[in-house]
C-alpha cells in the first residue's frame, strides 16, 4: 500500500499543548472506501482537514493525489471533494444557484442538472437553503462535493446528527459512489457505518491508530471467542465469572457482564449452576458475534460512545 492515492506517514497535529494527532500513518488505495473510526475528539477531523488542505500539519508526511496538501493546495482542491462536519451555506441561496456557483470554481465540472436529479433535489432547485430539511441539506452537501467530479472524496462524519431514515439514504449514496470506484475517506463514530461501508478501517483513539484492517480482519482479532452478555439480579465479583468453563475473559460495563467464551454451551451451563449456588438470578442473556465495538473495547477498555 505504499503507492496509495492517499498516504499519511507519522502525521502530527498540535493545538497549543494538546497533541490531537500523534504520529498517525495509513494509506488508502485507489477506489477504496477507507474509514477512520473513533470517538469524538480522537483526532479524525484534524487528520481529514489536513488532507483536504484546510489545516497545517506540525509533523509527518502527507500525499494526496500525488500532491502535498499544504504546498499544492490549489491544485489539490481542484481534484478532491469533501463534506465538512460544521458548515453551512447562506440562508437565501437557492439550491440550483449553489450548484452552479460551486461548479464555476473548478476546471472540471459536472452538470448541475444531473446532480440535482441524482440527489433528488430537482423539485427543490428553487428552494432557499434555509427551507431545506436536514436530509436535503445533506444531499446538497454531497452534490456539492461531487460538483468537480473528484477522484478522492472526504466525508467527515457524513451521518452525524441525522435521523435513521436520512442515514440509510446517505449509506446508499456512499455505496453507489463506491461502485463508481471513487476513493473515499470517511470518518465516523458509528460502528455499523464503518462495518457496512468501509473496505478497510483504522481505529483511532486519542490521536493514535490502534488497529487497522478490513472489518473482518479486525473482528477476527478476537477470533475464537463469542460474547455472552448477561444481566444479573445482583452484582457478582467478575473474578467469579471469569472462572466459569471455557471463559477467557470477563468485563463489566454499566451492569452488563460480557463473557468471552470459546465454547458457548458449557459456559452457559456452568453460569446457570454458579448462579443457582450463589442464589443469584439471570435477568437477560444475549449471545453476540463480535463487532468493531468489541474490538474497540478490547483495545481501549472503553466504549466507543463514551
Amino acid at each position: 500500500m505504499s503507492d496509495g492515492i492517499i498516504q499519511v506517514d507519522n502525521l502530527v497535529k498540535q493545538y497549543g499543548a494538546v497533541q490531537a494527532v500523534r504520529r498517525v500513518s495509513f494509506a488508502v488505495g485507489e477506489g477504496e472506501v477507507f474509514g477512520l473510526l473513533g470517538p469524538n475528539g480522537a483526532g479524525k477531523t484534524s487528520t481529514v482537514e489536513i488532507l483536504e488542505g484546510m489545516r497545517r500539519r506540525d509533523g509527518g508526511r502527507v500525499v494526496v493525489c500525488g500532491l502535498d496538501p499544504e504546498r499544492n493546495s490549489q491544485e489539490l482542491k481542484q481534484q478532491v471533494g469533501a463534506v465538512l462536519q460544521f458548515t453551512s451555506l447562506p440562508d437565501k441561496l437557492r439550491v440550483e444557484e449553489a450548484l452552479r456557483l460551486f461548479a464555476g470554481f473548478y476546471h472540471r465540472r459536472r452538470e448541475p442538472d444531473e446532480l440535482l436529479e441524482r440527489f433528488q433535489l430537482a423539485e427543490k432547485r428553487r428552494a432557499f437553503y434555509h427551507q431545506l430539511s436536514g436530509g436535503q441539506k445533506q444531499r446538497l452537501a454531497m452534490a456539492l462535493a461531487l460538483v468537480n467530479d473528484p477522484q478522492v472524496l472526504f466525508l467527515d462524519e457524513p451521518t452525524a446528527g441525522l435521523d435513521p431514515q436520512v442515514r440509510r439514504e446517505t449509506y446508499s449514496i456512499i455505496e453507489e459512489l463506491r461502485r463508481e470506484k471513487k476513493t473515499i475517506l470517511l470518518t465516523t463514530h458509528y460502528i455499523e457505518e464503518a462495518e457496512r461501508l468501509c473496505d478497510r478501517v483504522a481505529i483511532i483513539d486519542q490521536g493514535k491508530v490502534i488497529a487497522l484492517g478490513t472489518p473482518r480482519e479486525l473482528k477476527q482479532r478476537s477470533a475464537g471467542t463469542t460474547r455472552i452478555e448477561v444481566r444479573l439480579a445482583r452484582p457478582e465479583p467478575d473474578g467469579a465469572l471469569r472462572r466459569l468453563e471455557a471463559v477467557t475473559d470477563c468485563r463489566e460495563f454499566e451492569g452488563t457482564y460480557v463473557l468471552h467464551s470459546t465454547r458457548v454451551p458449557p459456559t452457559i451451563v456452568s453460569l446457570v449452576k454458579h448462579l443457582e449456588a450463589e442464589g443469584n438470578e439471570l435477568e437477560s442473556l444475549e449471545i453476540r458475534t463480535p463487532s468493531l465495538e468489541d474490538v474497540f473495547i478490547e483495545l481501549t477498555g472503553r466504549r466507543l460512545r463514551d
Binding site: 490549489q74 482542491k77 458548515t87
Partner: protein, 295 residues
C-alpha cells in the same frame, strides 16, 4: 476571473434578498435624500446641488456597514469554511463583495440624481466625470474599510460597535451632515484625517463648482491608495474559520489603510486652502445659511 463574476452575481442576488441590505442601501439613503431636500432644499437649485453631494457621499459611505456584517456572519456560520474547500481564494471572495456592492449602489445614485433634478429643480449636473470617479472609488474604498472591520473583529457584536463608532465619525465630522465650513478650526483639522471628508468635499466641489478630474485628483488618489491598502490588508488578515482569532498585530496592519489620510490630513490642515474653498461653496449656495422656509 469568471469565478469572481459568478460570485459577484450570486452576492448581488443574496443582497437583494436581504432586508437589512435593502434598508441600509436603499431606504436609508433615500430617507436622507428626501429629508435633506424637504427641510433644507428650498433655498434654490444651488442648495439642492450642494445637498445632493452630501446625500451621494452618505449613500456611498454606507457600504462598510453591510459588507462587514455579512462577512463576519458568513464566518461565524461556517459558510466561509465551505468556500475554503474550493480553489477560490480570499481575493476573489473579497473582490466580489466590493464589486457586488458597487453594482447595487449605482441604481440608488441614479435615482438620487433624478429626484434632485426633476423633483427638486436642480439645474446643473455638476462635473459628471468627477462625480462618477469619486462615487466609484469611494464605494470601493468604503467597502474595503468594511472588510477591514470584519478582519479585525471576532464577533458580530464587536463588528457592530466599531461600525457605530465609524459611522458617527463619518456622519458628523465629514461635512456630510453639518457643513465643514461651519466647524470650529480644530474640528476642521480633525476632519481632514477622515477618508469620508475627502469623499464629501470632493463631491461638493465636483457638483457645485464643476471641478474637473484634475481638481479632485488628491481626493481620488487618497481614496484609491486607501482602497488598495485596505484590500490587501483584509486579504492578508482573512480568516475562514469561526474559531480563528484575530492575529496579534492585526490592528497595526489595519492602520496601513489609514496612512494615506494621515498624510493628506497633515498636509491639508497645514495648508487651509480646502477650508477656504469649502467656505466659498457654502457662501455661494446658502448666503444666509440654510433656509427652512421657501422663498
Amino acid at each position: 476571473m469568471s469565478a469572481t463574476m459568478a460570485l459577484t452575481g450570486v452576492r448581488m442576488r443574496l443582497a437583494l434578498r436581504n432586508r437589512a441590505f435593502i434598508f441600509f442601501s436603499v431606504v436609508m439613503p433615500l430617507g436622507f435624500l428626501f429629508g435633506f431636500f424637504l427641510v433644507f432644499g428650498r433655498g434654490g437649485p444651488a442648495a439642492v446641488t450642494y445637498l445632493l453631494a452630501a446625500v451621494l457621499a452618505l449613500s456611498v459611505m454606507g457600504s462598510f456597514w453591510g459588507l462587514s456584517v455579512q462577512l463576519v456572519s458568513f464566518r461565524e456560520q461556517g459558510i466561509l469554511r465551505r468556500f475554503r474547500l474550493t480553489p477560490i481564494g480570499a481575493g476573489p471572495l473579497l473582490g466580489s463583495s466590493i464589486l457586488a456592492n458597487y453594482m447595487l449602489t449605482i441604481p440608488t445614485i441614479v435615482v438620487e440624481y433624478a429626484v434632485a433634478r426633476w423633483l427638486f429643480g436642480m439645474t446643473s449636473w455638476g462635473n459628471l466625470a468627477s462625480a462618477i470617479v469619486l462615487v466609484t472609488v469611494g464605494s470601493a474604498t468604503f467597502s474595503a474599510l468594511g472588510l477591514i472591520v470584519a478582519s479585525v473583529t471576532n464577533s458580530l457584536q464587536e463588528t457592530q460597535v466599531i461600525n457605530n463608532a465609524l459611522w458617527s465619525l463619518f456622519f458628523f465630522l465629514s461635512g456630510a451632515s453639518i457643513p465643514l465650513a461651519m466647524f470650529p478650526t480644530w474640528m476642521q483639522k480633525l476632519a481632514f484625517y477622515l477618508p469620508a471628508t475627502y469623499l464629501v468635499s470632493g463631491l461638493e466641489r465636483a457638483m457645485v463648482n464643476g471641478t474637473g478630474l484634475g481638481g479632485v485628483a488628491a481626493d481620488t488618489l487618497a481614496l484609491t491608495a486607501s482602497l488598495l491598502a485596505a484590500f490587501e490588508v483584509s486579504r492578508r488578515l482573512f480568516r475562514w474559520e469561526p474559531e480563528e482569532r484575530v492575529p496579534a498585530g492585526a490592528k497595526a496592519w489595519a492602520l496601513l489603510a489609514v496612512i494615506p489620510f494621515l498624510l493628506l490630513g497633515a498636509w491639508e490642515s497645514h495648508s487651509s486652502q480646502r477650508v477656504a474653498e469649502m467656505q466659498q461653496i457654502l457662501q455661494a449656495v446658502a448666503p444666509h445659511g440654510f433656509s427652512f422656509k421657501g422663498k
